[in-house]
Symmetry: none
Subunit: 180 residues, 4 copies
């Protein structure tokens, strides 16, 4: 049923009709209501499913003992890989505004991931490797840059090859790295 993902990516939550999702999934509209209480429950389940997957992936891959520069690279590549493997999921998660239908639990899942990332940043700041700014801001700058890159890629404005990704990664490291 997660092909509802495609519809939400294409037309957004409010722009997608349940019958459209059902048609794409090859099932009857009513069947969706055996698995989800409502359209809202469906988006929220979708959102949490993928956010949790990203989180799990990031947590798992994170090299606790490696040097900060290496940690940054690993995280970057991990998220890039996720976004390239699951472009629809990434587009759904990051390219749409969910404020009007996410429930408290979904928001909490989202915040958790951001809190973790900020904590990571803070640890690196303690070692004076990153700029001494609000860690949340540093994280948002990098994640924003990353999202901008992926959006431009999907909208055909740039080509993403391994070297391009590596160059962008270096640029984003420069964003946060101390000394300048």
């Amino acid at each position: 049923m997660d092909a509802a993902l495609h519809c939400f990516v294409d037309r957004g939550f409010h722009g997608t009709a349940i019958p459209q999702i059902a048609a794409r999934a090859g099932i009857a509209a009513g069947t969706i209501y055996h698995y989800f209480d409502s359209k809202e429950a469906l988006v929220n389940a979708l959102f949490r499913h993928w956010k949790t997957l990203v989180a799990r992936r990031v947590f798992t891959a994170f090299p606790q003992t490696a040097p900060t520069r290496e940690q940054f690279r690993v995280m970057w590549n991990e998220i890039v890989d996720f976004a390239l493997e699951h472009p629809q999921a990434f587009a759904f998660l990051e390219l749409h505004n969910h404020t009007s239908y996410l429930d408290a639990e979904s928001i909490a899942v989202d915040r958790e991931l951001k809190t973790f990332a900020s904590a990571m940043v803070q640890r690196a700041q303690d070692e004076r490797l990153l700029k001494p700014m609000d860690p949340a801001l540093l994280m948002e700058l990098v994640f924003g840059a990353f999202t901008g890159m992926m959006r431009a890629h999907w909208e055909g404005r740039i080509d993403l090859g391994p070297e391009v990704i590596a160059a962008a990664e270096q640029a984003c490291w420069d964003t946060v790295a101390a000394h300048g």
Copy 2:
């Protein structure tokens, strides 16, 4: 009538009903159709209105003869000022996915601005001041970082004071600046 802006920001295009817009504007629903052919015409007009305003502002403020570093700072501050003065407009333009209803002209207006920005980047690259990457990518990284910062600001995750903005500006300059 441009308080349709608020509705679109809150619930998105598909999630907003014409009667809601009319109610917020204190007019009758039918009146909207004296000024716009359809709901789609309304969003497109809105989109172009504000995109054009941003563009005009950026073009006007751009210091042709100043050094690149100064040009970057001016542009940055110009967009920050716009976003802080017109938070609803900025949220509408950048925090929502418009792909399902923008018409060709609106898309052209958007592309124009991006093309201009890329051209600026390229000129600076010719002077070896910026990293030798796809200029579009550099531009997207910076604009993405900026958008991430503003989103975090509106969602209450960070505080934006003048020094914070300046620090973020420096960080984004580091993103694009050559040598590192």
Copy 3:
């Protein structure tokens, strides 16, 4: 729009579809929602409208100074006239079970009428003209008998002429009259 009355009488509240009501009224289904917030609001409005009309009629006709026997006759005839003039309304009010959709205000309107009737009974009891039973019970017996008569009339089991009505009235007076 009060021809929704007919539909509710025929198939009950839950058995009646809004489009059916609209079709019978010769309007579009959506139009109903300009005047009523929901199907429930519609039944409640209908219920209150007719209950209030009955109440007004009873209150107005009630001969305060006449002897009790005369008062009883007047009330009886008043309600008979109402039921014969507005058979649909009476059938809707008394032949259907409204418990699952009436709101607090509608219930209050209903209770008010019953309380008034019980008070009347009590006054007559004080004069020892009626049986010394729970006034509410006496009232329910008479009103129940009346309703049974009307139901049988509509379902074709009895014929209602003026003499029949008068005879039934006398029988119901005997129900409540003291001494027997």
Copy 4:
């Protein structure tokens, strides 16, 4: 499965969903269709089941040779007992309007009981013990009064003790008794 009774009493036939009945019965919705062809078949079976039970009870208890006054008392008490023992069944049978879904056989069962009662009345009229009115009307008046009493009881407007029931019985006898 006859706990469908509860659902029908609460929300009426059209307001009750088969899954609701199944849930209350603790079985699967599909199981109901092993025993009844359709929802309509279910109500009709329910209706006939209880109507038949009432009829059997009345027929059985009826004291053929007792004086009319005693016959009336026995019948009254028999139906009161039934209504108090099976309040849900009585509420289902008498407090709801079944016209839109009862089939011919169910209607016949209903009519049979009424015809029997009318015949009884007529026999008593032949002895000049009852008022010389349409026997069907006399029967409806008494049964209507009785139903009104039970409804008021369930809706909490009156208290039903043995003496109250006896007093109501006497009042209803006065309704039908000759001379007044």
